[in-house]
């Protein structure tokens, strides 16, 4: 290898590394939020961020991606899924009773937000994933569909279903509080 060719190779590698660094700066927050939305654990989410970017850098797949947000969200989603505790993915049943706080808990927890958080946690996983991904500003419905490898129609249906379930549950909870 001549010196000129070696220098050329070094400059290409440096330029590639600079582009990837810029990609990290642009998307690290999105990747973290996608991971956190699914895992709800700070340490695990940061690990997934590391893993996602490392995997991308090694595979060089990022150099040919068309929609980088969808691509990154999809990669993050798949890596986070491996760390997700196994839940009943098949069931679309939303066990309202299990999500409702007990009387003592209700008395202590006046924070409606945390109540809704618990309700979201109690949603079937496929509905929860669509719902939380839709809450991430950086992702539109097409990108969410690409992330979850499903059609946009399915995304919309599941989103409506998730919101409907949450509404019902929340309505019951607030009515119960008012009745007390």
């Amino acid at each position: 290898m001549t010196g000129v060719a070696a220098l050329g190779e070094i400059s290409v590698a440096a330029e590639r590394e600079a582009r990837f660094t810029a990609l990290i700066h642009r998307n690290s927050r999105l990747v973290y939020r996608v991971a956190y939305a699914l895992l709800r654990n700070k340490q695990d989410s940061e690990d997934v961020v590391q893993e996602t970017f490392m995997k991308l850098f090694r595979s060089r797949a990022w150099e040919s991606m068309t929609d980088e947000r969808a691509f990154l969200a999809r990669t993050t989603y798949r890596l986070a899924l491996d760390r997700l505790p196994k839940r009943n993915f098949d069931s679309l049943e939303f066990d309202v009773a299990s999500a409702s706080p007990g009387p003592e808990q209700s008395a202590v927890s006046m924070n409606m937000e945390s109540t809704v958080h618990r309700m979201i946690d109690a949603l079937p996983e496929e509905l929860r994933q669509v719902l939380v991904l839709s809450a991430i500003d950086e992702l539109n419905s097409r990108q969410i569909a690409a992330t979850l490898a499903m059609s946009e129609g399915t995304v919309r249906t599941r989103l409506m279903r998730a919101r409907q379930l949450l509404r019902e549950k929340l309505q019951r909870t607030t009515r119960g509080r008012h009745a007390k």
């Binding site: 590698a13 961020v49 958080h117 939380v132």
Partner: protein
């Protein structure tokens, strides 16, 4: 009634949206990006270092072999007394700068004084030992640099049968050896003077005088 219901639904939606926003609103550690970048750099550097070594190691090995081959096959300096060992390699007692050099059976070069003047000895294992000034003066006192190697070095050298016979002859008959050297170095007979032929004049044959 309907208005109340729709108001309630709107309120519920607002609560859900607000809760959802806070549900996904998480901030990574401030140095997460830099940790990721550092990890990637480290990985990339490790990879490139591996390739550097993968290329450099064979190159170094080849260079070393070339240097060893060159140093083994290099002829001894002119004027240095040399001893031929059993394996046929030449043992020179004087290096380029006059330092005596011994080559062992393995063909390694043992020079009490290095080419640049720093005295060094290379052992069988290839390790180099730098000699002190005391060692150097010891060599001087033993007559290494005057071209007369010490007896111990001569006796420890491995000679061929032919060489041994010559040495034995020289020890037993020094006078005869001197005589032979003297005869060999004696000046030869006077060179012959060039033959000079005077110019000859050849006259044309006179035909009138012929009978």
């Amino acid at each position: 009634m309907q208005n109340n219901e729709s108001d309630e639904l709107e309120q519920l939606d607002r609560r859900i949206d607000s809760a959802l926003t806070s549900y996904v609103d998480a901030h990574p550690s401030p140095n997460l990006e830099y940790r990721v970048i550092e990890n990637i750099h480290r990985t990339a550097y490790r990879k490139s270092r591996f390739w550097q070594w993968a290329i450099a190691t064979p190159l170094l090995a080849v260079s070393l072999l070339v240097v060893i081959h060159y140093s083994v096959s290099r002829p001894a300096s002119v004027g240095a007394p040399s001893v031929r060992s059993k394996d046929g390699s030449t043992q020179s007692t004087t290096t380029t700068v006059g330092a005596p050099s011994l080559r062992s059976k393995g063909g390694t070069d043992q020079s009490p004084i290095a080419k640049v003047g720093a005295p060094s000895l290379r052992s069988k294992g290839g390790t180099s030992k730098t000699l002190t000034e005391k060692d150097s003066s010891s060599f001087h006192s033993k007559g290494w640099l005057t071209g007369t190697p010490p007896q111990s070095a001569a006796t420890t050298s491995v000679l061929t049968l032919h060489d041994s016979a010559l040495v034995a002859f020289a020890r037993e008959n020094p006078e005869q050896l001197h005589a032979l050297f003297a005869k060999a170095n004696a000046p030869g007979p006077e060179p012959l003077a060039p033959i000079r032929i005077d110019d000859i004049e050849i006259k044309p044959i006179a035909t009138e005088d012929l009978p």
